[in-house]
């Protein structure tokens, strides 16, 4: 799943051949804490009898990570950036059944050279 960043470029590298970073605008970050509903949880424990991918959880985490990215992108737009570079993801367990998804990066103004 590619992230829909609506106009803001995302990347996890910090050196871009053919582009120039004209302005650094500081760290931006977005996070979300999500839990799944009991029904999904129950289905997942059934699915785990036979193993394999737990699709319900995969979807849940994908949605949550997209939301974290959305919030990061909103911050970047607010400071007037057109790209977020050096994006990192991290996941933390808050409590049983809840996970925090965090995305952070550096907001910059990136321009094509020549």
């Amino acid at each position: 799943m590619g992230y829909d960043a609506s106009g803001i470029k995302l990347s996890n590298i910090e050196y871009f051949p053919g582009y120039a970073i004209t302005q650094h605008l500081g760290l931006v970050q977005g996070s979300t804490v999500r839990a799944k509903h009991v029904g999904r949880d129950f289905m997942a424990s059934l699915k785990n009898i036979v193993g394999g991918e737990l699709k319900g959880y995969t979807e849940l985490l994908d949605e949550s990570r997209q939301e974290a990215v959305d919030r990061m992108v909103a911050q970047a737009r607010a400071v007037g950036a057109n790209a977020v570079i050096n994006v990192r993801f991290s996941t933390a367990n808050i409590a049983a059944g809840a996970a925090e998804l965090l995305a952070y990066g550096t907001a910059v103004v990136l321009e094509k050279r020549g």
């Binding site: 992230y3 996890n12 590298i13 424990s45 036979v50 737990l54 995969t58 049983a96 059944g97």
Partner: protein
Amino acid sequence: MGEIIALGIAVILLIVGFVFGSIGQSQHYRSIKIREFRLRRILLFNEKMPPAQYAGQEFTLVCGSVIMGCDYFRQMIAGLKGLFGGRLGSFEAMLDRGRREAILRMKEDAERMGANAIFNVRLETSTLSFSQQGNRKGDKGLACAELMAYGTAWRAPADADANHPQGR
């Protein structure tokens, strides 16, 4: 009587887990191999700097993630194996499948934007304590892990074959 029923359920779960787990695993590996072959032209690097040939090309963040579980039978085998130590083949297979699946999803993402290389690939594994809350079986949680791969995909330079990064 109650114990016999409980034992019977456990045995049935083990058999179901073993049969369907094995079928699922071999089907998954077959699909992984086919897709890996189809996507072999997309190159992965975990170095940060794309070579100069990619100057000015489009790039984007691509990502693939999957949560893999381990079937009931293999979990039990791993539990027994854990008493003696050594390799836990069940979990090795689970993580291997998950990681290859995550990389494939990332590559499929890159393919959609017409990229031919992904730089700064990072692989992450996290365990999620999704289990305790919904698990009716008590202390044992789900054996599951999230495998995630992400990187920056770059669109091929105009003269892709001549400037192929492998030919540097």
